[in-house]
């Protein structure tokens, strides 16, 4: 294995993993420190950051072709309709 291959195969994934562990530590600390505001929002925001790291780097969406990115976003768009239509009713009662 060349130095570049080692960097691509081992070092890069380990860096992403370190970032994921740091975010996990942050979300636990934020949840258990008393009195902090917006705990749900913070927890979901950190989860979103972790999901983006996994999707863009581990799942390699960052370098994917356009058609693959459209397929990846399609599920979120369709699920978005589900949420928008539900909240349009639920939050305006």
């Amino acid at each position: 294995m060349t130095r570049e291959e080692r960097h691509h195969v081992l070092v890069k994934p380990l860096r992403i993993f370190a970032a994921l562990m740091a975010l996990l530590t942050l979300t636990i600390l934020y949840a258990f420190v008393p009195g902090l505001p917006f705990k749900t929002e913070a927890g979901l925001g950190i989860a979103l950051a972790k999901a983006l790291l996994i999707a863009l780097l581990f799942m390699q969406l960052k370098g994917a072709s356009g058609i693959v990115r459209i397929a990846a976003v399609a599920g979120l768009v369709w699920a978005g309709f589900l949420y928008v239509l539900t909240f349009a009713d639920l939050l305006t009662r």
């Binding site: 195969v9 994934p13 994921l20 562990m21 949840a31 999707a55 581990f58 397929a71």
Partner: protein, 206 residues
Amino acid sequence: MTDTALQKPWADAERQRVATQFGVWMFLATETLFFGGIFLFYTVSRIENSAGFMAGARHTDVWFGSINTVVLLTSSLTMAIAERAVRIGAVPLARAMYFATIALGLCFVTVKGFEYWKDVSEHLLPGRDFPIAQTGASEFWAFYWTVTVVHAIHLTIGLGIVARMLLIPRDQLAARWTTAEGTALYWHLVDVVWVFLYPLLYLAGR
């Protein structure tokens, strides 16, 4: 870069690669809708009966949930290394990482089993002996059991898919790098779902 085992009807490796990624991502889009519906139940229940729902959420065991989060994120690391190792033809490393991924997946299921045992011993099953009287608490636990069992089923299917990579003869594994990519996409999605479940199940109401 290694040679590619082409499958019909693809004329070249790049087309096969895009087709594999496109196909798996379309499947993952349906999974997003599937889990999106389950998450919508959580959202509506939590808005409608906030106090009781959070009272129920405080009974989950954050230790089990946190340990399993570390286990699953680590399995994503081993899967990512395995996929990249296949791509450069480092077959022994790839196989070692597939074994590690399976071991971590089994570890997740085992921890989940201990957690379920504790939950059942505390009667945290919606029904007659459910111990929390507040309205909304049983809805949280209905969500908990539904979504964690569904997730565990997905993970178990993932174990089979990863095991399939180990059944490919060693001298053919490097040429199956598009298969390795599709396998990795599925495994990482199981991880992404858990990443969102963790704060909703184990950190809510703390």
